[in-house]
């Protein structure tokens, strides 16, 4: 489409009126906004002494966890779809044949580089078995870069830690592929 296309309506900036040109009315308008915020209730919390409240844990995107199936095994089937969907390339999986008869393959190693992660939630979207989920844990700190690469055991322990407060998001689907 060209700028001269007749279907485009071009708007012109309105010329300043008398009140704008006098400056003082707008100045008072600005001061009013500042004054209103001075007396309104505070939303800032003193983190970390004070914990912020997470609105809806179902849609909050915090630290990842790897869910367990009812038998306590890792639910992941090592399909690499999260690693494929990940725009930050922070997921590294090594797949191998599973030791269980009802499952074909499982992750021998599953690593998420939490420092590379941008917490977009695409891995959660992509997962066909709801094995990877983002919890509402938001204070993610570590003393070294190595510590921030979460391996399978650590991600499973996040699940053990959060499963009571945050049940599996789609528990009804259950089962594995």
């Amino acid at each position: 489409m060209k700028p001269t296309d007749p279907s485009i309506t071009w708007l012109e900036e309105k010329p300043l009126g008398l009140a704008e040109r006098l400056y003082l009315p707008l100045f008072i308008q600005g001061l009013t906004v500042t004054a209103r915020h001075l007396v309104s209730p505070k939303v800032t919390v003193s983190f970390p002494e004070q914990r912020p409240t997470v609105g809806n844990p179902l849609i909050y995107r915090g630290v990842h966890r790897l869910n367990r199936d009812p038998e306590g095994r890792v639910k992941c089937v090592a399909c690499f779809l999260c690693a494929t969907a990940c725009p930050a390339h922070c997921i590294d999986i090594v797949a191998t044949e599973s030791p269980w008869p009802d499952r074909e393959k499982y992750p021998e190693s599953f690593q998420i580089d939490e420092l590379r992660c941008i917490f977009c939630g695409m891995c959660e979207e992509a997962c066909p078995v709801d094995a990877i989920e983002l919890t509402s844990l938001l204070d993610l700190t570590g003393k070294s870069r190595e510590e921030m690469i979460f391996d399978k055991e650590k991600l499973l322990s996040v699940y053990d830690m959060t499963k009571d407060a945050e049940p599996m998001k789609s528990a009804s689907l259950g089962g594995t592929l």
Binding site: V77, A78, C79, F80, L81, T84, A95, T96, E97, E104, K105, P128, V129, L177
Partner: protein, 565 residues
């Protein structure tokens, strides 16, 4: 010329060509979906995916008479006036029904199926199938069956196209696979005690249009959409099969055959297919080194660790100058040009050698031969000569007036004491292991024995360029790393004088220069190592290689044919 009408488009075919509707439609740019048909196998027309409408145009009146029912395109030959309709409502409806029937009994476990991403069932269902599932059964079982040392069968994913069964009967001639039971209970199986164990077994995995046959070597290793592919040539034997090297982040994950009617058609053998593991072997020589103390003082046979300590690492820039100086100082030079090198590398090596010593003795390197040529009923031959470029190196040596000089001649020269220095290029991959362990060859088994290597011990300077340690590298003054087959670029000429040009698929490990790069720098040429420039120059200067002057087609050129023309 006969004319075929594909969806209203008239295309001419050769007068003596025998094409079926799928092939004719492909010429017109129309893809007729098919599972069971494969150009290299007999036609069974069992999958019904290629059903199309056909008819015949009357040559005199131009009136078209259509066949009332759909016919399988794979089984219907075309002739002058044949009318093919590939996109009518009737055809589309038929394809959707075939897809639906196939998926009724298919465990839709694409996320854990290794074929996902290159699966015809996925592709065709996306293109021709319907979105909703009307069947209320969910047979999500996935039974696994071990059919051979290299192949696993996922029974429930199979769509019974029987390509694999026909392959073992017609091409490998071994007939291990068969169809058991009838109707909806049909399954692929092997007889008890007769596993799918032949040198071409891996091809059934490539043939399988779905994820039913899995290659144990590749299973669960990588999803196919992560792989990048480079058109390459197999270096396993002198047949020089066209392959695709599939890799990711400089790691090869699998080799696949590349269709080439002049060389390997659609197949490759398992020796070649699994013959890439040595590329990523820890035992490879990864740095250029020069011997610290003379041979003998460090103990030649002291084992791998101590032998390695006897070499001091050398920067490649110093190798380029130091090697030339050392060889020039030593005197009469003998050079073994390995049949693993490309034509370009061989040519540059000869030029380097003659620039150091104008009288340098050039000879073909050791040619590994294992057993006899093995030909299968389908016409595929595995050559006994386990190197890809003997012909090419011989032709290059002929250019330098050293035609006919072989490895034994070079050994005789060394034994007679007339040479003071030798430069042995090797780059031999370890020989393929026995059938039980053909995946991983043993790098400890060397191409040269201790006694032969000992004859080189008296030389003033011995340069050995190889992938792995060998008895010869233990007596070397210079030990240089070599590149594996996927790490080189250039031209190989196979046993039938067919030249194929290929590019580098993966970068060699850090610290390794492919041979060509060293020769390029030793010749003092400017810029980056450019095998294409070398090839053009070689083609201009030599009538033998004239056919390589321009861009070489992906399927290669026959050097002899162009010479006659």
């Amino acid at each position: 010329m006969p004319v075929v009408i594909v969806d209203g488009q008239e295309i001419e075919i050769g007068a003596d060509e025998r094409l079926n509707c799928i092939e004719a439609a492909r010429r017109a740019g129309r893809e007729i979906p098919h599972y069971c048909w494969h150009a290299g196998l007999t036609v069974v027309a069992s999958c019904r995916m290629c059903l199309i409408e056909t008819g015949q145009r009357d040559a005199a009146t131009g009136k078209v008479t259509m066949v009332p029912k759909l016919v399988p395109g794979c089984q219907t030959p075309v002739r002058d006036g044949t009318v093919i309709v590939t996109e009518s409502e009737k055809v589309k409806e038929s394809r959707a029904r075939v897809e639906e029937a196939l998926l009724i009994d298919h465990p839709i476990d694409c996320p854990i199926c290794d074929k996902a991403g290159e699966c015809l069932l996925q592709d065709y269902h996306f293109e021709h199938g319907q979105a909703e599932r009307r069947a209320d059964i969910h047979p999500f079982t996935s039974r696994k069956r071990d059919v051979g040392p290299t192949v696993t069968l996922f029974v429930d994913r199979c769509i019974m196209c029987t390509r694999c069964v026909r392959f073992t009967r017609e091409v490998s001639g071994t007939g291990e696979l068969m169809v058991t039971s009838r109707g909806a209970k049909e399954e692929i199986d092997v007889f008890p005690g007769f596993p799918l164990d032949n040198k071409l077994a891996g091809n059934v995995v490539d043939l399988c249009p779905v994820g039913a046959l899995g290659d144990k070597d590749f299973l669960y290793q990588q999803r196919v959409w992560f792989l990048k592919r480079e058109a390459n040539v197999c270096g396993g034997c002198s047949a020089g099969c066209s392959i695709h090297t599939e890799h990711n982040q400089d790691t090869v994950y699998r080799l696949k055959p590349r269709e080439n009617p002049h060389v390997n058609r659609w197949w490759i053998c398992d020796d070649g297919r699994y013959g890439w593991h040595h590329l990523h072997d820890d035992a490879r020589i990864l740095a250029a080194g020069r011997r610290l103390a003379p041979v003998g003082q460090t103990g030649r046979h002291a084992g791998n660790g101590q032998a390695a300590a006897a070499f001091q690492p050398v920067e490649w820039a110093d190798v380029v100058t130091g090697l030339r100086a050392d060889l020039a100082r030593a005197g009469h030079l003998a050079v073994a040009v390995s049949p693993m090198l490309t034509v370009e590398e061989a040519w540059m090596l000869c030029a380097v050698a003659r620039s150091i010593d104008p009288q340098a003795y050039l000879a073909l390197g050791h040619v590994p031969v294992v057993g006899d040529d093995e030909t299968f009923p389908g016409g595929f031959t595995i050559r006994a000569e386990k190197c890809p470029n003997r012909r090419g190196v011989e032709e290059v040596l002929a250019v330098y007036g050293a035609g006919g000089h072989g490895w034994d001649d070079l050994l005789a020269q060394v034994a007679s004491g007339t040479v003071a220095a030798a430069w042995i290029t090797a780059a031999y991959p370890p020989p393929a292991g026995d059938a039980a362990d053909q995946h991983r060859a043993d790098p400890a088994v060397s191409w040269i024995d201790e006694a032969t290597a000992a004859t080189f011990a008296g030389l003033q300077t011995l340069v050995v360029q190889d992938l792995f340690e060998s008895p010869l590298s233990e007596v070397a003054t210079w030990r240089l790393p070599a590149a594996g087959f996927a790490e080189r670029a250039g031209t190989w000429i196979n046993v039938a004088h067919h030249a194929q040009t290929f590019r580098q698929a993966i970068r060699p490990p850090a610290g390794v220069w492919p041979e060509g790069r060293l020769f390029w720098n030793m010749l003092g040429r400017r810029g980056l190592h450019d095998p294409v420039a070398v090839r053009r120059q070689l083609a201009e200067s030599s009538a033998t290689f004239a056919a390589l002057a321009g861009d070489v087609p992906a399927t290669g050129v026959d050097l002899r044919v162009r010479q006659l023309a």
